[in-house]
């Protein structure tokens, strides 16, 4: 790999009109439909979407394991299909689907993969030691892969993904099956690698908090199409105009008045809720409550989370797909 090209290029990943069609029992299934987006240097980019949306297909294309039917995907300016040999030294990946030979021990796996990536003995030893410390793998190194727990396997898989100090790394569900403390450390390590070495990262995860914590930009993909792409906050704002104000009162004295003020009431927990569009409204609402003699115990502002966004996107997209299928059905019926 030409170091200068790698330094010069600001767009690490460029995906232009990439499509992938699979044939299943003589039927065509569109796994990816002409998707386009870029990942910039030093970015942690999240790829979100429900199961079967096309995320893993895209990762396999970027790894050179799958040829797209159309379009072009490149990493550091090199075509992933035809110029894989120029890229593979500086790219790596981990996935929930990754496994290693059940008879090989943790250290052997890391050492052999280090050799496949062309690392010298000293480099491998140093790298393995650093990764072992970071992922607390001391006891796992001597274990055979087949005997490891899910969490231990995932840590070895992550270490393999980092063994060559990749400039671009694809992490498909990196914390799947990990204990909360190791998952937290993994997230911290991902953030640290990104910050310290400027490593560009493509991340997929079903843990929305993880994506929200790590990623700057995300793309929401469903049925092989990019539905939404951009900075997380911007995307959430585009889908949710308002947010929720939740107030806990000492007692609910005048339900009528509260309803008139636009609150939803949960008497059992002495809580009232209201959707608002502007944070400046909060002081005004609280003043009004105090003026009317309500004793406020607690105030919480609930901004929409990425999970809310994800659920809304899935719901909207499924609804649109049903409508589309309905229209297509009607058109076919009409033709008959």
């Amino acid at each position: 790999m030409d170091e200068k090209i790698e330094e010069r290029i600001e767009e690490v990943v460029r995906i232009e009109n990439v499509g992938k069609v699979f044939k299943q029992e003589k039927k065509e299934f569109y796994a990816l439909k002409n998707i386009s987006f870029n990942i910039e240097k030093g970015e942690i980019f999240g790829l979100l979407g429900p199961n079967g949306a096309g995320k893993t297909t895209l990762i396999n294309i970027l790894l050179g394991m799958l040829k797209p039917n159309g379009g072009r995907a490149s990493i550091f300016g090199y075509d992933v299909t035809n110029q894989r040999e120029k890229l593979s030294h500086v790219v790596n990946s981990s996935s929930g689907e990754t496994e290693f030979h059940w008879l090989l021990r943790g250290r052997e796996i890391l050492d052999y993969f280090g050799r496949f990536y062309g690392l010298s003995k000293e480099q491998r030893e140093m790298r393995i030691q650093n990764l072992v410390d970071a992922f607390e793998l001391q006891n796992v190194l001597k274990m055979k892969f087949g005997w490891m727990s899910t969490g231990q396997k995932m840590r070895v898989i992550l270490c393999k993904a980092l063994i060559n100090n990749p400039k671009f790394i694809m992490l498909d569900e990196p914390t799947l099956g990990l204990d909360p403390d190791i998952a937290k450390k993994t997230r911290e390590l991902v953030a640290e690698i990104n910050k310290k070495f400027g490593t560009t990262i493509l991340l997929t995860s079903h843990y929305m908090q993880e994506v929200e914590q790590l990623c700057g930009r995300i793309a929401f993909i469903d049925h092989g199409e990019i539905i939404d792409i951009g900075k997380i906050e911007k995307l959430k704002k585009s889908r949710f105009k308002d947010f929720k104000l939740e107030i806990r009162l000492k007692e609910i004295r005048s339900a009528e008045l509260l309803k008139k003020m636009g609150f939803e009431i949960s008497p059992s927990i002495r809580t009232i809720e209201k959707s608002i569009t502007d944070e400046e409204q909060i002081t005004q609402i609280l003043n009004e409550l105090v003026k009317n003699g309500f004793d406020i115990i607690n105030v919480e502002v609930h901004h929409p989370t990425l999970e809310d966004y994800f659920l809304k996107m899935v719901e909207e997209n499924h609804k649109n797909n049903h409508e589309l299928q309905g229209q297509q059905g009607q058109q076919r019926g009409g033709k008959k």
């Binding site: 790894l63 394991m65 040999e85 593979s88 090989l104 052999y112 050799r115």
Partner: protein, 260 residues
């Protein structure tokens, strides 16, 4: 081509072999047991038909050798598929050629090691001395190894194309076709339709000179020629077929769904 990566994959395969009791048994124990069992028969049969008995023993050794040469390539790739490591290996800088070449070297080391062990067993246990015919036997063994590896690469190609439901071919193909290669009887015994099949099997052209060698103790170039053509043919055609099927598998997504 990077020889350090080839060496790394070769050592990776040997690391797995060392831990895999079944594959160690397959490499040493079963061939030795088979040669010992046939050796006793040959000792007995020598009284009636000396040369035929010797031919039977050598054919038996070559049968084991051919099986190992073939299975060492295809079973190693099958283990990559079963252990879901294939995608991981191929997404490293290892090229497809390096991947295949390492497996060929692995197969050669494994099968020739077993061959020398079997010759040693025949020599020390039954006092069969192959030294006089060692050169022609080694030439035929090299050709049989090439043919076997060609068949192995073709088997891997078939599995890449049609899926792992055909994985049984990786351990059964040699045994499945060997009896048609006229191992323990003259080729002329076979009926016409089977004869046509036998002509297409590379081992037929290994066993024919072996049977002759037992009688004459020497071979001419003409005796080697069919073995050279047939075994080299399988070895040479297996590569373009593999690369074609591999590319198609990459295109159709079979490469990443092999274990499904």
């Amino acid at each position: 081509m990077n020889f350090r990566r080839i060496l790394a994959l070769l050592q990776y395969d040997f690391a797995i072999l060392r831990k895999n009791k079944h594959r160690l048994m397959e490499m040493i124990y079963f061939p030795i047991v088979s040669v010992i069992a046939w050796g006793f028969f040959v000792v007995y049969a020598q009284q009636f038909a000396f040369q035929a008995a010797i031919a039977i023993l050598v054919v038996q050794i070559f049968w084991q050798f051919a099986y190992l040469s073939q299975s060492s390539v295809s079973m190693t790739v099958m283990e990559d598929i079963w252990s879901r490591t294939l995608r991981e290996l191929l997404s490293t800088p290892l090229t497809t050629t390096e991947f295949l070449l390492a497996r060929i070297i692995f197969s050669l080391i494994r099968s020739f090691f077993a061959l020398f062990v079997l010759f040693a067993v025949a020599y020390f246990v039954f006092n069969f001395n192959f030294f006089a015919t060692l050169v022609p036997l080694l030439i035929l063994a090299t050709l049989a190894a090439l043919g076997s590896m060609g068949i192995a690469i073709l088997v891997v190609s078939v599995i890449l194309r049609y899926g792992t439901t055909l994985s049984f071919l990786s351990w059964s193909i040699v045994t499945g076709i060997m009896f048609l290669a006229a191992p323990f009887f003259p080729l002329s015994v076979l009926p016409q339709p089977l004869l046509a099949v036998a002509y297409g099997i590379p081992y037929t052209w290994i066993f024919e000179p072996i049977k002759k060698l037992a009688v004459t103790n020497s071979l001419t170039f003409a005796d080697y020629l069919p073995a050279i053509i047939s075994n080299l043919f399988y070895f040479v055609i297996s590569f373009p077929i593999f690369f074609y099927v591999f590319e198609k598998a990459r295109e159709k997504g079979r490469l990443i769904r092999l274990w499904e």
